[in-house]
Amino acid sequence: MKNSKWNLRRIWQDFYLVIIMIFLYAPIATMVVLSFNSSKSRTQWGGFTLRWYTEMFASRNIMDALQNTLLIAFLSALIAVIIGTAASIAINSMKPVPRTILMGITNIPMLNADIVTGISLMLAFIAFGISLGFQTVLIAHITFNIPYVILSVMPKLKQTSRFTYEAALDLGASPLRAFFKVVFPDILPGVLSGFLLAFTMSLDDFIITHFTRGAGINTLSTLIYSEVRRGIKPSMYALSTVIFATVLILLIISNFAPHKKAEQ
């Protein structure tokens, strides 16, 4: 009796989990399946094909957008990591009150609605006479990426003892050498996951890019948006699938890489 009751409960638990998973992933799964569908219909399966993928790779527009996306993601993540790490070190050595205030300020852009960030960046660029294009998208992405870098570097920095830095100084290292030889290896996992997080955020962004890109430059997300308005093509499913897969892989790496390092 007891056993069957327990079994029933177990079944409900699994059922609930499955429902949640379906809600979350069914739409994405549909898109992935359709990207391999040889029929243009959204309801009928016409057989497996890679045609939409070849079409996607043959399209000049898509390839340009892909190049822009990757370049902006890489550059903005790299620059954000340098600025963000330096900022974390400064914030970490502050007294508690200014530190809390500054952490609050750096957190605001993350909580802020993207549309507000996007519009205000656009207005600022126009007001200061900076023409919209590749450079403004890059600056915008660096701006919203810095808080994510700080967020992932800060905890690592808090774990490192200030005494190891002092010990390096004590043994004759200059402050710069002491940092790169002793502190940096300790916070490297945080810096790397900050980089991956920033890269993903940049890859993922649509709204802020949309407002700061100006005419003539597209990233994948803005390209998809403008294509969809003209009627959706299956090669867009393929493109979206590739973006989803890339983001998923990056997220997995950034989630698991630092933990592995810490466990060693």
Binding site: S161, T164, E166, A167, D170, L171, A173, D186
Partner: protein, 358 residues
């Protein structure tokens, strides 16, 4: 013993308006083992960090071998520090840790390898070159931290409570090892601790500090046997501190009883503080004692019994003795004249606050 290696002259330091060191003067001779001893917050670690160059004094001078080094950064000072939390570099192996300072100085590979071998032998960890930091126990990590410091052949080694995190047995072993290292290497040691036993065991000179002031400076024997004030007497070992009146030279009155002592020059009928160590009180038959009291508390401690003898005036005397006095029994207390230490009463309340409170 030669020239003084380091001099602190009129050093003051405050953090956020709290005075940590107040006009401190300290001179350390070459080739000595000096211990800064005091409760937490007494300024001993700050003193060490000022010598190491990690803190800047607000006023005063730090003089190293005759040269003022106030503005010299830590990496340019001819001294090394062993930190409380070891501060080993966890992403490097043991050999790389020890080689860190030597590599910066641009020493040859052969020289560095020789030095690593020598240092590991010195701290009894031969063959540990390739081990990782995490695979070592606390005591072993501590010894590596010491090895890492001494391969640089500093003239002065600063140690900030290096044995604080170790268990009792290991701590005692390390104490002997530090004494051996000091004798073998001829380096001057400045050692910070709050453990009075550690200080008494290892030091040539003990500097007792409290609330940013030096309370007393002297050999372990002087500090233990002739504490200059109630704080030192209380902090170093256990003691009975009782109010008394110095009737005249070599005679002091405590609770109405007259005790012969050896101190002179306190004046006539002068109120004083009297220090008597628990192990210096002899238990005798009631009629032979200078004071009589009743045993109110008894614990067996192994080497001796610890007893509390309450005299009629209500004072509880702490007594360490191999003579057993059961609870409730009347007993006489007797003290040899040379075991009575007389101290001036603090002149003002302010001075008392400095002296007695932690």
């Amino acid at each position: 013993m030669g020239q003084s290696l380091i001099d602190l002259v009129n050093i003051s330091k405050s953090f956020d308006g709290t005075m940590v060191l107040d006009d401190l003067n300290l001179s350390v001779k070459e080739n000595t083992f000096v211990t800064l001893l005091g409760p937490s917050g007494c300024g001993k670690t700050t003193t060490l960090r000022i010598i190491g160059g990690f803190e800047k004094a607000d006023t005063g001078k730090v003089i190293f071998d005759g040269t003022e080094i106030n503005d010299l950064p830590p990496n340019k000072r001819q001294l090394n520090t062993v930190f409380q939390k070891y501060a080993l570099f966890s992403h490097m192996n043991i050999a790389e840790n020890i080689a860190f300072g030597l590599k910066i100085k641009g020493k040859s590979k052969a020289y560095i390898n020789d030095k690593i071998k020598y240092a590991l032998k010195l701290v009894n960890l031969d063959g540990y070159e390739k081990r990782t930091v995490d695979s070592l126990s606390g005591g072993q990590q501590q010894r590596i931290a010491i090895a890492r410091a001494i391969v640089n052949e500093p003239r002065l080694l600063l140690l900030d409570e290096p044995l604080g995190a170790l268990d009792l047995k290991l701590r005692q072993d390390m104490q002997y090892e530090l004494i051996r290292l000091k004798n073998e290497l001829g380096i001057t040691f400045i050692y910070v601790t709050h453990d009075q036993e550690e200080a008494l065991t290892m030091s040539d000179t003990i500097v007792v500090m409290n609330q940013g002031y030096i309370q007393q400076m002297g050999t372990p024997e002087q500090i233990y046997n002739e504490p200059e004030n109630a704080f030192v007497a209380d902090f170093i070992g256990e003691s009975n501190i009782v109010p008394g009146v110095m009737l005249h030279d070599e005679l002091v009155e405590i609770f109405g009883a007259k005790f012969a002592c050896v101190d002179r020059g306190f004046g006539v009928n002068k109120p004083v503080d009297v220090v008597i160590r628990p192990e210096d009180i002899e238990l005798v038959e009631p009629e032979q004692g200078t004071l009589t009291g009743t045993c109110t508390h008894l614990i067996f401690k192994g080497v001796h019994y610890e007893m509390e003898i309450t005299t009629p005036d209500g004072f509880e005397w702490l007594v360490h003795s191999t003579t057993l006095c059961p609870v409730g029994k009347k007993v006489g207390l007797r003290v040899d004249p040379f075991n009575i230490q007389i101290m001036n009463k603090p002149a003002s309340e302010d001075e008392e606050a400095v002296g007695v409170n932690e």
